[in-house]
């Protein structure tokens, strides 16, 4: 598990702000969890990992490990399965309405 420095988190928050993303740092039982509204947990982990790797290249912070990315899941009882109704599903639903 990687330890995220305050400098690293500040950099992520600034980056999120520049992109118009409202982000908060929430205390968690282990380390810290970055939460950005409107972005799925898995995507946030991916973004976090990429950002860490980028900063690591600049020798400002260690990267987030692969293990941490894989273990990043939604809170218990929730799932991140995308349930958006697709165009195909909608077309089938409306089929009989049009005779």
């Amino acid at each position: 598990m990687a330890i995220l420095t305050s400098k690293f988190l500040e950099s992520v928050l600034n980056g999120a702000k520049e992109h118009g993303i409202k982000a908060h740092i929430l205390p968690a039982s282990k380390g810290l969890l970055l939460f950005a509204e409107g972005i799925a947990a898995s995507e946030q982990c991916s973004l976090l990992k990429n950002k860490a790797a980028e900063l690591h290249d600049e020798q400002t912070a260690p990267p987030v490990s692969d293990d941490q990315t894989e273990n990043c899941q939604a809170p218990a009882g929730q799932s991140t399965i995308d349930c958006q109704v697709t165009v195909e599903e909608r077309a089938q639903l409306f089929k009989f309405l049009n005779g």
């Binding site: 809170p75 009882g77 929730q78 799932s79 399965i81 349930c83 109704v85 697709t86 195909e88 599903e89 909608r90 089938q92 639903l93 409306f94 089929k95 009989f96 309405l97």
Partner: protein
């Protein structure tokens, strides 16, 4: 019929879309089941904008909110509406309840588990949408009734709700009611189409509870704050709801 001290069947009534007749259906189904001798608890699951009490013309002094937030004895909140029919009312204008935090879900489980064993069957009239409370009640219940109308918005929202419940929460065996139809043929066509889409995309085959016809007596009953089953017991909608009630009782062996 006697009350068994075991967990009774719990039916959650949802729709996705609002305004499709969920609360009217729930109230009248509860009344029809109670008429058949089953002791029914109707829970107003629209925790932030409850309407069951409004449809029934009840005077509500206490709500589920007080049981969850203040630890009030839930038995003191339940209202007896008629013989065998009891209502657990919800608050109105309390968005915090609609959100249903994890802590509230835990407290609500304790509150409901403490009271439902006194009943033969429990119905939950949920809020519209796919918010936390809707999903929670649908997970808590063993059976899920989805109300549809033959409108594109209702079909889309009802399907979206079932997709979330099936994909994220592993729910199966949805039971469909088609409300506000001009004919049985229209209702059957709506059900068949939905069943086809559910089978094709979610590998799920729902069952058909039946149609509820468009009926002016339903609107009149809502305005007089009475179940149409009592206000117009011979209307087409009342006959249809009795058929659905009989079907559910037979299904549950009550």
């Amino acid at each position: 019929m006697s009350s068994a001290k075991k967990t009774p069947p719990i039916f959650c009534i949802s729709s996705g879309k609002g305004g499709v007749g969920k609360t009217t259906f729930s109230v009248n189904l509860a009344a029809a089941l109670a008429d058949r001798g089953a002791k029914i608890l109707l829970i107003d699951g629209d925790l932030g904008l409850g309407n069951v009490d409004v449809v029934l013309g009840l005077q509500v002094d206490h709500t589920i909110r007080e049981a969850v937030e203040d630890g009030r004895d839930p038995a003191s909140i339940i209202l007896e509406v008629q013989q065998n029919l009891f209502v657990l009312p919800a608050s109105s204008g309390v968005p915090e309840m609609a959100g249903l935090s994890h802590e509230d879900q835990h407290l609500l489980t304790n509150v409901l588990d403490a009271i439902i064993k006194d009943f033969d069957l429990v119905l939950v009239d949920t809020a519209a949408g796919i918010g936390d409370s809707v999903l929670w009640f649908n997970q808590w219940a063993q059976a899920n009734i989805i109300i549809l109308t033959p409108d594109p918005t209702s079909l889309t929202d009802g399907y979206a709700l079932m997709k979330v419940l099936a994909s994220r929460h592993g729910k199966k065996g949805f039971q469909l009611v088609v409300n506000n139809v001009k004919s049985k043929k229209e209702a059957m066509s709506t059900y068949t189409n939905m069943a086809t889409v559910l089978k094709q995309f979610l590998q799920e085959i729902p069952s058909y509870l039946g149609p509820l016809p468009k009926d002016s007596k339903v609107v009149e009953a809502i305005r007089s704050q009475k179940p149409f089953l009592l206000a117009a017991p011979d209307c087409q909608a009342a006959k249809a709801i009795r058929v659905i009630a009989s079907q559910l009782l037979e299904q549950e062996g009550i």
